[in-house]
């Protein structure tokens, strides 16, 4: 199975954005607090209500879609009400999920009336729902919780969706908050979000990703890929053609 990589978007402690539109941070020790105008030019009523984990994932997805030119960067972002529906799928891998939001809701449980608006984001998949509403994405959408924080099983399932013809475009990536967990593998990795737009066909791409088993992934035929961050590095080194 193979597909073109047409867009990459990310949020990390060091920077966020996409190729040609990057905001850098100096000496950030934690992930940035994402503001609406970091991602969208126009007001979007749903953005303010999102939890930090959802903003992190939502930003990565929107940046990747702008990089792939599936949504126009900067020009039209009025796709906030009834955007045209698109058969695009989304798979996000995570280790931490929305545990930070779970803790926030647990705190509100000490009050007579816990917060319904916080509870609405205590699902790891909530941000996929927000992205599907904003972008009008009607394909498959689910989160993979994995022990090994490499995002590759999600990549495999994304390739399967394209190969089976279920969607011709799939957003695939990782999203992790910087909460401390007992997962030692995860602690050695950078929290943040990174999303790729995979397409069956496209004019401009960073190259091709291939896999025929859940254990091995190759970029441009013969470059072995070990994590999604590894893939992003290889893609950005090569630049889009």
């Amino acid at each position: 199975m193979e597909s073109f990589i047409s867009g990459i978007g990310w949020v990390s402690k060091e920077s966020m954005g996409y190729n040609g539109c990057i905001k850098k941070f100096d000496q950030n020790t934690r992930l940035p607090q994402i503001k609406r105008d970091d991602i969208l030019r126009h007001p979007y009523k749903h953005f303010g209500r999102m939890d930090n984990f959802s903003k992190l994932g939502f930003a990565g997805i929107v940046f990747a879609m702008k990089d792939a030119a599936i949504i126009e960067s900067g020009k039209i972002e009025s796709e906030t009400i009834n955007p045209e529906k698109k058969n695009i799928s989304m798979i996000a891998s995570t280790v931490t999920g929305c545990l930070e939001t779970d803790l926030a809701f647990q705190e509100t449980m000490l009050r007579p009336l816990p917060s319904p608006s916080v509870f609405a984001y205590t699902l790891d998949s909530s941000f996929l729902g927000e992205a599907s509403i904003y972008l009008g994405l009607t394909g498959e959408s689910f989160v993979i919780n994995e022990e090994k924080p490499d995002g590759l099983k999600g990549l495999f399932m994304a390739l399967e969706i394209i190969d089976s013809g279920a969607s011709d475009i799939v957003l695939c990536g990782m999203c992790n908050s910087d909460i401390k967990t007992n997962n030692t593998d995860f602690c050695s990795n950078t929290p943040g979000s990174i999303f790729f737009v995979l397409q069956k066909e496209c004019l401009h791409s960073y190259g091709v990703i291939q896999s025929n088993s859940m254990e091995s992934y190759y970029y441009q035929n013969d470059i072995k890929i070990n994590t999604l961050y590894d893939l992003a590095q290889k893609c950005t080194n090569r630049k889009k053609l």
Binding site: V95, F119, S125, S132, E140, V143, I144, E147, E160
Partner: protein, 380 residues
């Protein structure tokens, strides 16, 4: 594409410790819903009721989810005719897994309790069964386990693996109970799916295990197929975070994809296990979708959530396990709590058990974030 068969199923619900007790309980119009005593009922709780599993006790410093896992593993491994081999790929489906551990933790502590990650549940099950992989957990709200079955089937169809074990589960915790209460989604009486006077859902807990295997592996093992996974489809409403599209947009897309994958027409479906939560919006959406896709009198449908509660991430898996039994018996149990039909549901839903024709059964689930999933099982 390689055909995919189900050769082993197990289910644990508030109705009893196995699939037989669930099916027989539903056929005998019993309910597993009772007043909850697991945690204190506080003022914000919108209901005193839940579908809890009788023998699930609250152990100190351990999540109920691991106790439930042990019960499920014992049951699925008991079937000697369809053993789970070490190369079986594991997919778990849970929305909140060990969230009850948070209640045992200082709420202000940012250091998390051990075993709270969703992947901790997957690893625990993999280790207990003795699998050579740690698997993955699929999380997509109340459609999690339906999607897990669909993705497991896709892996076998592609020839990537020969067998996939789906283990799905969620428990009733104070965390989730409080959340659904303040969202205004819960009924103060046991849920009454598709009833005109329904007031909302009742939470439940449960677990199911489903073993999917390729035709080649089934033959090699001499395993008897219980049914075939004929098709599946997944789609998003792209409409609202906590409510379904009123017209059932995503559900209809998912059903259409499932029929296409199965290579059948919508007319070939005569029985549907619905999501049927008992909330105003969900049940109306499903009635709209069914009436717009199927001819009048073509299908019968039911919901089991009035009898065992809404088991969240486990719901789809429990219902697929039950559909295996329904397909074998060719009888669909009635919908518990359905007394006064919602407009449009009269010819579809019944409180009585009914036989159905054809070789297929469709089961669907929908959830927060606009997610929808459909699986079609075929009699073998």
């Amino acid at each position: 594409m390689n055909p995919v068969y189900i050769t082993n199923v197990a289910a644990i619900t508030a109705m009893g410790p196995d699939l037989e007790s669930l099916y027989n309980g539903l056929m005998n119009k019993k309910s597993g819903i009772s007043k909850i005593t697991r945690f204190n009922n506080v003022s914000c709780h919108a209901s005193p009721f839940a579908g809890v599993i009788k023998d699930l006790d609250h152990p100190k410093k351990m999540s109920l989810i691991f106790q439930l896992s042990d019960m499920l593993i014992n049951q699925i491994c008991r079937n000697r005719e369809s053993r789970i081999e070490s190369d079986t790929f594991l997919i778990t489906a849970s929305t909140k897994a060990g969230i009850d551990l948070l209640g045992q933790n200082n709420a202000k502590s940012k250091m998390l309790p051990k075993d709270i990650l969703l992947s901790d549940l997957t690893q625990y099950i993999a280790l207990k069964i003795g699998l050579n992989n740690n698997g993955i957990n699929i999380n997509s709200a109340c459609a999690s386990s339906t999607i897990a079955v669909a993705k497991g089937a896709a892996l076998i169809q592609m020839g990537v693996v020969d067998s996939v074990l789906i283990c799905c589960m969620d428990t009733v915790s104070q965390f989730v109970f409080s959340g659904f209460s303040v969202l205004g989604a819960m009924s103060d009486e046991p849920a009454r799916p598709f009833d005109k006077n329904r007031k909302g859902l009742t939470l439940g807990e449960g677990a199911a295990a489903i073993l999917l295997i390729s035709e080649k592996k089934a033959k090699a093992k001499g395993a008897f197929p219980l049914c075939q996974i004929a098709g599946f489809g997944i789609a998003n409403d792209a409409c609202h975070l906590t409510a379904p599209a009123r017209d059932g947009y995503g559900l209809k897309l998912a059903i259409g994809k499932a029929c296409k994958k199965a290579g059948i027409a919508v007319d070939d479906i005569h029985a549907i296990n619905t999501h049927g939560t008992g909330t105003k919006h969900n049940d109306s959406m499903e009635i709209n979708a069914i009436n717009s896709m199927f001819n009048p009198g073509q299908v019968i449908a039911n919901s089991i959530k009035g009898a065992i509660g809404h088991t969240l991430g486990a719901a789809g898996g429990i219902e697929i396990a039950l559909c295996v039994k329904m397909l074998k018996e060719k009888v669909m149990p009635g919908t518990y709590g359905f007394l006064d039909p919602e407009k449009g549901s009269e010819a579809i839903i019944s409180p009585e058990a009914r036989s159905f024709k054809g070789d297929y059964i469709l089961t669907t689930n929908s959830g927060f974030g606009g997610t929808n999933a459909a699986v079609i099982l075929k009699k073998v």
